[in-house]
Symmetry: D2
Subunit: 139 residues, 4 copies
């Protein structure tokens, strides 16, 4: 399972471009690391919510993927994100955790932390779906 | 107002890095263009939802900003995004439209279209807030 | 299709208890009416967001149902709601409109209006799913 | 603080009509109980998501209220809810927990459990705001 997650993560050019790295993969829980990067900031100099959301979405997506059958691919149906504070820091940790896995729908919660903080600066509630044998959608 | 929006947009390194361009700014409505870029794809080769969300968030944010007082800065509180279909196309248009502007909270809807499509492939419901005189937050 | 929608609506005790009435059903668009009722108010005397959300959810759900195959049942996967202003008024109209219908997932937008207002006081973005042959889930 | 929460909860006719009861109030965490009631069911006989959402919204709202200054009133700005499974059971527990409290915006997570289950059947991510001296808005 960890191999499938890592291989899929490695196919996401967006994650490589952002410099995101898969830190840990447990069944139902994934952590991704991200560094501050001046290329991905918003108008106030903080990391753009789009970068934060992209990595949180990946953390949630792979948490869901980690509990799906080997022949499933994962797609994000929707998510809600709250930006609780600016993404102020040098290093960020994004976690995705499965809340409940249904037959095709998996729901995850994501948390984004800056540096050594234990209170998240952004949280996500994500709805993922397993897809099978859909043309153009690899695992 | 258009000058303030353009100047703030130009300070978002994330938008420049993604290659996003401000297409039009009306009071309460903003359109941003984005091209497919292999650097920002997900594992299936489509534009990553994170890139889509970042640009939709900007379109909504500047739509809100366009109806705020000149001394306000805008922050995204939260948004919900639905990814209705893969971001398959060469050129994308993201629109943000103010639904209702309150005293500090402004709510917008965003729509993302691929090429010549008239049905969106992603939609957003975003909550923005006006902030005043907050250290480190420029307009 | 209208008969199926009305029959399913009539089986929702919650709608009868709230006094909600199906006003119109078009393919992909449903409108439901609701009156102010002191039994369903919040601490400030306005209609409770829970009543508003329940009826918006139904309007979206039946809009989705209206474009599904006859043997499908509809379930709400998730929704995001923004409460833009108090539900101040005597009579409320809630509309649900299909944004895009996929193979199993249908996404709708909902709008809630008070009396003669044309700006909504609440909006919803809802994710519905078609289910087939699931025990205990009738159409 | 507990007295303010209980007094405000008691002014919500919707909670009384639903039969919801405040079970516990800690700073930043509130639990509300609800029983199955045939008046508030959906077309499949389960408790309607609107009833679940109304009580989860209250649990989140009072969790936020519990960490606000005594002269603040609380309003729900928005929430996202995922319905992970039908509300099947006799007795339900809804918890609201503050994730982060800012100057005016407070973000909470809500969880709804049926009977003795430890996995939620519905989860919420809610954005609340403190309001002061607004006409018609009591604490």
């Amino acid at each position: 399972m960890r191999g499938r997650v890592q291989a899929s993560f490695d196919r996401q050019a967006m994650m490589a471009t952002l410099g995101a790295e898969l830190v840990s993969v447990e069944p139902g829980r994934v952590e991704v690391a991200l560094r501050h990067d001046a290329r991905f900031t918003q108008q106030h100099g903080f990391l753009h919510a789009g970068a934060v959301a992209a990595v949180l979405d990946s953390a949630c997506g792979y948490a869901a993927f980690s509990v799906m059958p080997p022949n499933a691919a994962v797609l994000t149906v929707s998510y809600a994100i709250n930006l609780l504070a600016p993404a102020a820091g040098k290093q960020f940790r994004m976690t995705g955790t499965v809340t409940r896995a249904g037959r095709t729908i998996v729901v995850c919660r994501g948390d984004a932390f800056a540096d050594t903080a234990t209170t998240p600066f952004a949280i996500m509630q994500a709805t993922l779906t397993a897809v099978y044998d859909r043309p153009g959608i690899k695992h």
